[in-house]
C-alpha cells in the first residue's frame, strides 16, 4: 500500500467533511445532492469501461435499472406479496413498519449490487468479444430491450409502473428521508471512489489500458483480456446497481423506460459527464458530473422549454473545444502538474526538425 501523501490526506478529509456537512449546510438541496452523488458514481464507473478500457458502453443503464427494480422488489417482497403490491388498482394497501422498511432496503441494495454484477458477468461473457462500434451498438440495444421487457412484466408493475414503499410514517421528521438517501448515496460514492482509486494504483488498470491501446498486442503478451474485461464490467455493474437502488427509493416511482432503463437520459448523461470531465482520469468524471449537475440544475429552469437545445450546444462545445475533457485540457496545458516530465531539449529538437 503506497503511503497517502499529506496533501492528498488534507484533500480527502476536506471532501469527506464537506460531504458529511453538505445536507446540513444546504438543507433544501438534499435531493439534488443525492442526485449528484449518484451521477458521480455512474460517471466514475462508466469511466472504467469507456475511459480506461476503451469500450464505450451504453448498456450500464441496464444495471442501474436492474438495481432499481431489484431493490424495490426485495423491499416489498420480503414482507408482502409482491404481485398484490404492484397489481394496479389493488385495493389493498400495505404499510412497512420502520424496521421492515430499513431491513428491506438494506437487503434490497445488497441484492441490487450482486445480481447486476452477476448479470454483467454473464452478458459480458457473451458480448465483450465485440469491439468498437459493435460493442457500443450492442449495449445500446441491451438498455432499450431491458426497458421494453420490464414494461411487460406484470409482477413488477409492467406499464403501470412500480410505486416503491413510502418512507415509514412513524418517522415524523420530514428531513429524515432526504438525509437517509443522501447518506446512503454518499457512502456508495465513497466506496466507489475508494475502489476506483485502488484500481488506479493497481496492475488491473494497466491491463485495462493495454486493452484500450491495443487489445491484440495485450493478448499476445499473455494477458487474458476477456477475464479482465468481464471483471471490469462487473465492478461497474455492482456500483450502477447500488446507484439504481438508491434512486428507486428516492424517486418513489419506477417506470420501465422513463425511470429505470432510462437510456435516453441517465444512460447518455453518464457518458457525457465522463467525457466532459475527461475520460481515463480519476478526477475527470467527478468534476464532469459535478459541473454537469450544476449546469443542469442552474440553467435548466431559466430556459424553460429550451433545455435540450442548451444541452446540445454544451455537447458540441465539449466535443469541439475539450475533446479530451476538462482534465485532458488541463493536462495538455500544464503537463508538469500531472507529474509528466517534459524534456525541453527533446521538445525543441522535435520542433526544429520540422
Amino acid at each position: 500500500m503506497e503511503k497517502v501523501k499529506q496533501k492528498d490526506l488534507i484533500l480527502y478529509s476536506g471532501l469527506i467533511i464537506l460531504g458529511l456537512a453538505a445536507p446540513y449546510l444546504f438543507s433544501a438541496f438534499k435531493v439534488q445532492l443525492t442526485y449528484l452523488c449518484v451521477l458521480i458514481v455512474l460517471a466514475m464507473t462508466w469511466n472504467l469501461q469507456g475511459g480506461e478500457m476503451g469500450y464505450n458502453s451504453f448498456g450500464n443503464i441496464l444495471f442501474y435499472g436492474l438495481g432499481m427494480y431489484l431493490t424495490a422488489s426485495v423491499q416489498v417482497g420480503m414482507f408482502f406479496p409482491l404481485a398484490e403490491w404492484t397489481e394496479s388498482g389493488g385495493e389493498k394497501t400495505f404499510v412497512h413498519t420502520t424496521a421492515q422498511y430499513f431491513q428491506g432496503i438494506g437487503v434490497g441494495l445488497l441484492v441490487a449490487a450482486i445480481i447486476p454484477a452477476l448479470v454483467a458477468g454473464a452478458i459480458g461473457y457473451a458480448i465483450l468479444g465485440l469491439r468498437g462500434h459493435y460493442f457500443a451498438i450492442c449495449t445500446l440495444g441491451l438498455g432499450i430491450a431491458a426497458g421494453e421487457i420490464a414494461g411487460g412484466i406484470e409482477i413488477i408493475g409492467a406499464g403501470q409502473g412500480f410505486t416503491t414503499p413510502p418512507f415509514p410514517a412513524e418517522i415524523v421528521d420530514p428531513e429524515a428521508r432526504g438525509k437517509f438517501f443522501y447518506f446512503t448515496s454518499f457512502i456508495v460514492l465513497v466506496l466507489a471512489f475508494i475502489f476506483v482509486k485502488y484500481i488506479y494504483g493497481s496492475r488491473f488498470r494497466l491491463i485495462l489500458n493495454a486493452i484500450r491501446d491495443n487489445e491484440d498486442k495485450a493478448e499476445a503478451m499473455g494477458i487474458q483480456t476477456m477475464k479482465y474485461k468481464i471483471v471490469g464490467w462487473m465492478v461497474s455493474a455492482f456500483f450502477c446497481g447500488l446507484a439504481g437502488g438508491i434512486m428507486g427509493g428516492l424517486i418513489g416511482y419506477i417506470d420501465s423506460t422513463d425511470v429505470a432503463f432510462d437510456g435516453r437520459e441517465m444512460g447518455v448523461f453518464m457518458v457525457l459527464m465522463a467525457i466532459l470531465g475527461g475520460k481515463g482520469t480519476l478526477w475527470g468524471p467527478i468534476i464532469g458530473a459535478t459541473l454537469f449537475h450544476f449546469f443542469k440544475e442552474g440553467l435548466w429552469t431559466f430556459i424553460l422549454g429550451w433545455q435540450y437545445v442548451a444541452l446540445g450546444v454544451l455537447i458540441v462545445v465539449i466535443v469541439i473545444y475539450f475533446p479530451e475533457g476538462l482534465m485532458g485540457w488541463l493536462r495538455e496545458k500544464y503537463p508538469e502538474r500531472f507529474g509528466e516530465v517534459i524534456d525541453e531539449k527533446d521538445r525543441k529538437s522535435q520542433v526544429e526538425l520540422k
Binding site: 439534488q32 432510462d262 429552469t301
Partner: protein, 413 residues
C-alpha cells in the same frame, strides 16, 4: 495533483458561497400572492397535453385574479404559479416537486400532466403534507394508496371506456361482443385497459386481441393487421394524443373495417381537425364537453369557456384544459372556506369540497378521486368537410344519436 486539488477546493468553496446565498426567496403567501407550484411537461412526449394543462391553469388564474381573487381573512389574494418543465419524465417530476417545496417554499401544488408523473409527485407532496389538487392523473392506483393530500378533479381512468363496451353490447342485442384492444405501456392507458377487462367480464364479452404498444406510439400496424384478420366488434385504443393520431392515420391507410372504434384523447389530439373525415365515427371518452350544462360564476358554462379559451389561445379547449382550470376553482373555494393558509385547514377544506364548476360537479371520495362527475362519450361526426365532436352518451347530455356500425371504407366517400 496538489494544484488540481487546490483548484477543486476553490471551486467547491465558490459553489458553497453561491449556494448558501440562494435562500428560498418565495413563500407560500407573499404579500397578496398565493404561490402555487407545478411541474408541467413542456417538452417530451406529453408536451402537447402539458401545454393544454398549463393553458388551463393560466386561464383560471387570470380569471380568478381579475374577478376579485381569493378572499381569506377579509383580504383579497391573487394566485401565482411557479412552473418547471418536467420533460415528461417521472424522475425529473419527483425532483422538481422536491425543489418547488424545499427551495421555492411552495405550500400548495397543482398536478402535472399524466398519471405516471402524478404517481411520482404524490409521494413527495404527501411526505411534506402539501395539498395537491391535480387534474390530469386519472390512474386508479393513485386513489388506493391512502394519500391524504391528493385531490383529483377528474374521474378515474378505468371509467373512461367502460361505457363504450356497454354500448357495444347493447347494440349487439345484449350479447357479449368480441373486443380487440391495444394500449400504450403507461400507467393511464393500462388503467383504461383494466376498466375494459372489468366491463368484458361483466358483459360476458371476449377479448380476442390484447396488445401492448410502446411509448411514443408511432406505429400500430401489427395490431391493425390482426384486427383485419379477426374482425372484432369493437376496437379499443388508448395511448394519449399520439396514440389517437396514430390509430386514425393507420386505420384509414390500411382501410381497417371495424364496426366500432373507441379511443381516448381525441379532443386533445384535435382529431376532427387534423384528420377530418378519416376520424369520423370514432367514439371518444372525455371528462368534459362544452355542451354539458354545468355552470359557475367564473367561467359561466361550457360554451362560454370554449369561446373565451379560443379567444385567448386560438384553439378549442380539450378537456385537459377544462379540468385544469377547474382545479384552480377548487383551490380558491377551499382557501375561502378554510379562511386560513394553514395547510391542514386547507387540506380539510379540500376534503369537504362539494361544488359545481363549469367542468362538472366536484366532490372527493375517500381516496381523493372525484366521485360526483360521470365520464361522457362523444362521437366524431362530419357535415361536409367540417367535423365535430357530438356527445352521444350518457343520454342526459346526448346531443346526437350514436351512429353504429361504422360504414365500411369502401362505402365511405
Amino acid at each position: 495533483m496538489n494544484k488540481i486539488a487546490k483548484l477543486f477546493i476553490t471551486f467547491i468553496s465558490a459553489l458553497t458561497l453561491t449556494l448558501t446565498s440562494i435562500t428560498s426567496s418565495f413563500a407560500k403567501v407573499e404579500g397578496d400572492m398565493i404561490v402555487l407550484g407545478s411541474a408541467i411537461s413542456l417538452t417530451g412526449k406529453y408536451s402537447s397535453n402539458g401545454v393544454h394543462t398549463q393553458n388551463g391553469y393560466n386561464m383560471a388564474v387570470d380569471r380568478i385574479n381579475s374577478m376579485g381573487g381569493v378572499k381569506v381573512g377579509g383580504k383579497s389574494y391573487k394566485f401565482e404559479i411557479i412552473y418547471y418543465d418536467d420533460e415528461s419524465n417521472p424522475k425529473r417530476a419527483a425532483q422538481l416537486a422536491e425543489r418547488l417545496i424545499k427551495q421555492d417554499g411552495v405550500h400548495y401544488m397543482l398536478g402535472p400532466y399524466s398519471s405516471g408523473l402524478t404517481k411520482a409527485i404524490a409521494p413527495v407532496t404527501e411526505k411534506y403534507k402539501i395539498p395537491m389538487v391535480e387534474a390530469n392523473g386519472a390512474s386508479r392506483s393513485l386513489f388506493t394508496k391512502g394519500y391524504k393530500y391528493l385531490f383529483a378533479v377528474l374521474s378515474p381512468a378505468n371509467q373512461y371506456l367502460e361505457v363504450a363496451i356497454d354500448l357495444a353490447v347493447e347494440k349487439n342485442g345484449g350479447k357479449g361482443v368480441k373486443i380487440a384492444q391495444a394500449f400504450e405501456q403507461d400507467a393511464f392507458s393500462q388503467d383504461v385497459r383494466l376498466g375494459i377487462l372489468d366491463a368484458a367480464k361483466r358483459t360476458g364479452s371476449k377479448i380476442i386481441i390484447d396488445d401492448k404498444l410502446p411509448k411514443e406510439l408511432n406505429d400500430m400496424a401489427a395490431t391493425l393487421a390482426k384486427v383485419k384478420a379477426t374482425k372484432p366488434d369493437v376496437l379499443v385504443v388508448s395511448g394519449h394524443t399520439k396514440g389517437a393520431l396514430t390509430a386514425i392515420r393507420q386505420i384509414s391507410e390500411m382501410k381497417v373495417d371495424v364496426p366500432m372504434l373507441a379511443m381516448t384523447h381525441c379532443d386533445a389530439a384535435k382529431l376532427s381537425k387534423q384528420h377530418g373525415k378519416k376520424s369520423e365515427y370514432a367514439l371518444c371518452a372525455s371528462q368534459w364537453h362544452k355542451n354539458l350544462s354545468y355552470k359557475d360564476k367564473f367561467f359561466g358554462g361550457g360554451k362560454k369557456y370554449d369561446k373565451d379559451f379560443k379567444k385567448e389561445f386560438g384553439y378549442a379547449p380539450p378537456y385537459q384544459s377544462a379540468e385544469s382550470s377547474a382545479a384552480l376553482l377548487v383551490f380558491k373555494d377551499a382557501f375561502e372556506r378554510a379562511n386560513s393558509f394553514d395547510r391542514d385547514k386547507v387540506r380539510d377544506a379540500l376534503k369537504a369540497t362539494d361544488m359545481q364548476t363549469f367542468y362538472g360537479n366536484i366532490k372527493f371520495g375517500p381516496g381523493g378521486q372525484n366521485v360526483a362527475k360521470p365520464m361522457i362519450l362523444f362521437q366524431v361526426r362530419c357535415k361536409g368537410d367540417t367535423c365535430e365532436n357530438k356527445v352521444v352518451a350518457p343520454t342526459k347530455w346526448a346531443s346526437d344519436k350514436f351512429f353504429h356500425p361504422i360504414p365500411k371504407w369502401s362505402e365511405r366517400g
